[in-house]
Amino acid sequence: MEDREITAMFQARDEAAISCAMEQYGALCLTVAYNILGNRGDAEECVNDALLRVWQAIPPARPQVFGAYLLTAVRHAALDRRRETLAERRGAGQIPAALDELSDCIPAPDDPERILDARALRDTLNRFLQTLTPDARTVFVSRYWLCLNAGEIAERMLWSGARVKMSLSRTRKKLKAYLKKEGFSDERI
């Protein structure tokens, strides 16, 4: 079923929209939530919460890319849940691993001046993503935004896990070089 059909069902307040959305995106939603939370029960709850949010938001919202809209809702729900339980759950899920990978090319700001760079860094990252091929960009966003692991990305991209890892490795190197070129050197960041 296409996104626009699912959106139309939500617009029409057709409860079958929920099951259609789950059929189309349920597995991916659950994976993303699980990778953020590291707990299946919490992940399932987050997906349900996200579906409820989406149900409440549409209408009036009219998302053109329903999948991304739903995944964003799932991600936000999972991150909210993660913040609530961070003390007990520190280290769970894919976020620590993803953060660890990126830390090599995006070191941490640790003073006020550098915090001001955060916005510039975000803009620079967006510009950098524009330079990537669609495949490389999809893999990068899947890993660091959706928090999917290499195997999960590989399965959905119909790639091998090694190819995903290699793509991520190359992209991180490019990002590091790009940030350096843009003035985000280790000394600055």
Binding site: E2, D3, V65, N126, T138, W159, R163
Partner: protein, 413 residues
């Protein structure tokens, strides 16, 4: 970087990137619309560009680019860009296939991720051809009389992979056909771009030997050599006393590109070291650095099973990128098979250190395997780590010829 900073950074991604990623992962097209993805502010103009690109993918659902020569990615030449298979998108193709026989079956299959492969195989003319798709039932008529012609249309599920239709029809001498093109991808690999419905790999056959189908890497290498060859008909002018070449024929090797109309015969003659190519009964001789000989050599290596293949640990597979051949610019990245062959030649070369010799103009051809780089200056002189060596075994000459094959057959000026 703290976790909160990381999350803030990722939360600040332009919405079109998550949209693109989710759409590609789920097999959905990004609609071409200005309507906002409402959760995050969007920069509209670039988003439209992406939307246009993705829509173009959907519109071109019947023409898939099939990438070859990346065997370790675990995808054969029949793999299809999943972004091209959209759920609910009408999937149409028309493929005329001839010569469906017991020996050359026609196959047609759709593989749904996580599901049992469904499809059909036609093993002989006149057999019924039927396929069952997840969302579409279809029967393809078989016209019989040695030919299968069908048109099918239907909806293909997200991520569907479409595999193979083979045909055998040898009539022309053109390397690049509408169905198969040899291109160099961004990584430097030579790949065969194959139109959906066609399967491209090279099959070689020597007289009195069984046919041997090459893998994707080998196939692309052969096709590259074929493409490098500049042909001009020579007929029997080069033969003694105007005699027919067939009279002196010593050995004949057939190289065909399955799924296309390309079939070359590489003929070797007793009277001289003549490496001729026969296409449709017309003899040609290569103008460039004996590509025909290289094709023959390479094919023979493959047939004899002499190819030296290195096996890398799974986690190391991505590092094939470090295996390159270069003449100062434009490095050619090698497959594992080709790397293995070069490694074999390196191993076989027995080197003797010599003082710095007088070096020829044009610079060396570099063979870089990551852990070692050989700069080949002549057929028997190589430099490794700033020391010069001479080889008297002929392995270096073979290595140079092999490397030249990747670089167009000629030394840099």
């Amino acid at each position: 970087m703290k976790e909160s900073e990381y999350l803030d950074l990722m939360n600040g991604l332009d919405a079109r990137y998550p949209e693109e990623a989710v759409s590609r992962l789920s097999g959905n097209a990004i609609p071409d619309s200005e309507t906002a993805f409402t959760a995050v502010p969007v920069t509209r103009t670039p988003r439209r560009i992406f939307a246009g690109v993705m829509t173009a993918f959907a519109a071109a659902a019947c023409v898939f680019a099939v990438t070859v020569l990346l065997p370790k990615l675990g995808r054969g030449p029949e793999s299809v860009n999943p972004a091209s298979s959209q759920p609910g998108t009408d999937f149409e193709r028309e493929t005329a296939v001839t010569d469906s026989t017991e020996e050359n079956p026609v196959s047609w299959a759709h593989t749904m991720p996580g599901e049992t492969e469904v499809g059909c195989t036609d093993t002989a003319p006149g057999d019924a051809v039927a396929t069952t798709l997840k969302t579409h039932n279809n029967t393809m008529p078989n016209t019989g009389e040695g030919a299968v012609e069908y048109t099918t249309s239907g909806a293909v599920s997200a991520g569907a992979t479409v595999t193979g239709v083979t045909s055998n029809l040898y009539t022309t001498t053109v390397i690049e056909t509408p169905q198969v093109k040899l291109v160099q991808n961004k990584l430097g690999y030579y790949v065969l771009e194959v139109q959906a419905g066609y399967h491209a790999s090279v099959r070689i056959k020597a007289e009195d030997q069984p046919a041997f189908t090459l893998n994707a890497s080998q196939s692309a290498h052969i096709v590259k050599l074929m493409a490098d060859e500049k042909l001009e008909p020579c007929g029997d002018k080069i033969m003694p006393s105007g005699a027919s070449p067939d009279k002196y024929l010593d050995e004949r090797l057939t190289v065909e590109l399955i799924g296309t109309d390309i079939c070359w015969e590489l003929s070797r003659f007793k009277v001289a070291d003549l490496n001729l190519i026969q296409v449709d009964g017309v003899y040609y001789q290569g103008k460039t650095a004996d590509a025909a000989k290289q094709i023959r050599q390479y094919a023979q290596y493959c047939m004899d099973g002499e190819e030296f293949v290195i096996h890398l640990p799974a986690d190391y597979s991505g590092y094939a990128v470090i295996f390159t051949i270069a003449c100062t610019q434009n490095p050619v990245i090698l497959s594992q098979e080709d790397t293995g062959y070069i490694l074999k030649q390196m191993t076989e070369a027995k080197l003797t250190e010599i003082p710095t010799p007088e070096l020829p103009c044009g610079g060396p051809i570099s063979v870089n395997l990551g852990f070692t780089q050989w700069d080949i200056y002549t057929e028997d002189i190589v430099s490794i780590d700033n020391k010069f060596y001479r080889d008297s075994t002929g392995a270096l000459a073979e290595l140079e010829r092999y490397a030249l094959g990747f670089l167009g057959g000629e030394r840099p000026e």
